[in-house]
């Protein structure tokens, strides 16, 4: 069974983004980019399935500018077998991404598709569900445990107030919660080896898919800053302040 993993190249999670002075967008020029943390978990899970003999091949795919290759190399160094870059300079939104991924799914016919539950830049969390809808397969969102049983996959999902378990017919789409696994550390030899693995580049425009953005960004802004607070000397003073604030 082939496993397809979709990854996104995003502003590194440690970096606090800055808004451009004209409020038109977030300024990411010169900012460190890396693989979306949820997607790294998706790659790790796919590689583990291969190590257990469940998956035969792990394919990583990304959509974006040429520099998105860095996240593909990261996936290859973790153990993916090959990678596909769907190259475009255009702004991408989840519906367009899902449509482009659908064309990869049709070509590669994976038995399982794993994505992160959300990208930490746009925080939308839509792509996996949209892809599942377009391919007309079941979806296991926010997965913290997956277990392949014959022609089904059992997915333990993190939901409000606990977990639930659903069984999906394969092929299916799974999106990863942080708890699914702990991604491995990449050793230097693996990084060198990854340079020799194949990365296929496809122009997004050649796939005959309408991926034009549907949402228009009118402006971006910093959130309202909080009023500066005070430090209290001890518990008694804290209690007194809370009484005055009428929240006790």
């Amino acid at each position: 069974m082939k496993v397809l993993v979709a990854v996104k190249h995003v502003v590194d999670y440690n970096i606090k983004p800055r808004v451009k002075p004209d409020g038109s967008d977030v300024d990411i020029a010169g900012v460190k980019l890396s693989i979306n943390p949820f997607d790294e978990i998706a790659v790790e899970e796919a590689v583990r399935l291969k190590e257990r003999g469940v998956a035969t091949e792990v394919i990583a795919v990304t959509i974006g500018k040429a520099n998105s290759q860095d996240s593909l190399r990261h996936a290859l160094a973790m153990g993916a077998d090959k990678a596909i870059l769907i190259e475009t300079e255009a702004e991408m939104q989840p519906l367009g991404v899902a449509k482009l991924l659908k064309s990869v799914v049709e070509r590669e016919q994976p038995g399982l598709i794993i994505l992160g539950k959300q990208a930490i830049d746009d925080d939308l969390g839509q792509t996996g569900q949209m892809l599942a809808a377009l391919v007309n397969v079941g979806q296991g969102t926010f997965a913290s445990i997956i277990d392949i049983k014959g022609d089904e996959i059992e997915v333990t999902r993190e939901i409000d107030g606990g977990t639930d378990v659903v069984a999906l017919k394969l092929p299916a789409v799974v999106t990863t919660d942080l708890r699914l696994n702990e991604p491995r550390f990449i050793k230097l030899p693996n990084l060198m080896m990854a340079k020799k693995k194949p990365v296929e580049t496809i122009k997004a425009d050649d796939l005959g898919v309408d991926f034009n953005p549907r949402l228009k960004q009118l402006k971006v802004a910093d959130p309202e800053p909080r009023k500066p607070g005070i430090k209290v000397a001890n518990v008694a003073e804290l209690v007194e302040k809370l009484r005055l604030a009428e929240v006790l």
Partner: protein
């Protein structure tokens, strides 16, 4: 044209977040219809019909909705949705699974986690873990939107809307519900609690011992950082943050929490933030209205005692 809201319930009551979504729908000034899915759920439909601002309840009562699956609920919404201008819900785990599927099937974009609706197709939503707010406009014929419940007041009860049964399409059979494991608690739901008492990893094994009595005093919900959850000191479902639950209570206690970006994204809209931490340089103090630099293991019991 009207607005269709996907209601959510726990089998007994309509969730607070659904009432908050009803308020958010007011931005359009269009009739609001509430879709209630369930099995033997007549009482829930009646409760939904009582929510002020709801013009009509669509009741989808079928065995397959005993435990509603995203695939089946999405199919139902797509069948109904073409008659609506807006398909809306609160940004909860359930809706996060269902609505993107609906949007793709209707071939429209979706807006996730809107914190304000400034015009009928213009939304403000947080990006980059709440560090930036973006204003987006959607030109699609059907707007598919989830809203951040804590940004809107809950609609009151006392109304009496019409309840209409809807036909439920047969399940596509793509998925099966197997079981669930919900945390049993007599505490209020985290996302709508008036007071939240949250702890970080430094509380270690004494997480419950220290925080429970303080939470008990307020009838508060317990929260935790990702680190506390990962270390096994607190269950997953109480994680507050970008990837967990977003809260905005009247009073938020951050105890032994350094204030990482990921955590702040989940609580920085709380009305009053109290931070207790031994590290005077912890970033949480830049967000706290009242900060106390102290040893947690002394200060928290002392605080609990002073309050009782």
């Amino acid at each position: 044209m009207s607005i269709l809201i996907l209601a959510e319930h726990d089998g007994k009551h309509i969730k607070q977040s659904t009432r908050q979504a009803v308020t958010a729908a007011g931005a359009w000034q269009l009739p609001v219809h509430l879709l209630v899915t369930g099995s033997n759920s007549t009482d829930l439909a009646s409760e939904a019909a009582g929510i002020a601002g709801v013009a009509k309840v669509l009741h989808a009562d079928a065995a397959q909705f005993e435990h509603p699956l995203a695939e089946d609920v999405a199919a139902l919404l797509v069948q109904l949705g073409t008659d609506y201008k807006v398909i809306l819900s609160a940004h909860t785990a359930f809706s996060k699974s269902v609505l993107p599927r609906v949007a793709a099937l209707l071939d429209v974009a979706m807006v996730s986690d809107a914190i304000s609706i400034t015009a009928p197709a213009t939304y403000v939503r947080p990006i980059y873990a709440g560090n930036v707010l973006t204003t987006v406009e959607s030109s699609d014929a059907i707007q598919v939107v989830t809203v951040r419940a804590t940004s809107f007041a809950a609609a009151a009860g006392g109304a009496s809307a019409e309840v209409a049964a809807v036909n439920v399409p047969a399940s596509a059979g793509l998925s099966r519900w197997i079981r669930e494991d919900k945390t049993v608690s007599d505490r209020p739901e985290l996302s709508s609690a008036r007071v939240v008492v949250s702890g970080g990893r430094s509380l270690a094994e004494r997480f419950d011992e220290l925080l429970e009595p303080l939470a008990h005093h307020f009838g508060a919900a317990l929260g935790a950082t990702r680190a506390a959850v990962d270390a096994g000191f607190a269950p997953n479902d109480i994680q507050v943050g970008q990837t967990g639950t977003i809260v905005a209570p009247e009073l938020y206690f951050a105890i032994g929490i350094s204030g990482a970006m990921q955590h702040l994204a989940g609580m920085k809209d709380s009305k009053i933030i109290v931070a207790i931490n031994h590290d005077p340089d912890a970033p949480i103090f830049q967000y706290a209205d009242y900060g106390l630099v102290a040893n947690l293991f002394d200060a928290v019991p002392e605080l609990t005692k002073a309050l009782s």
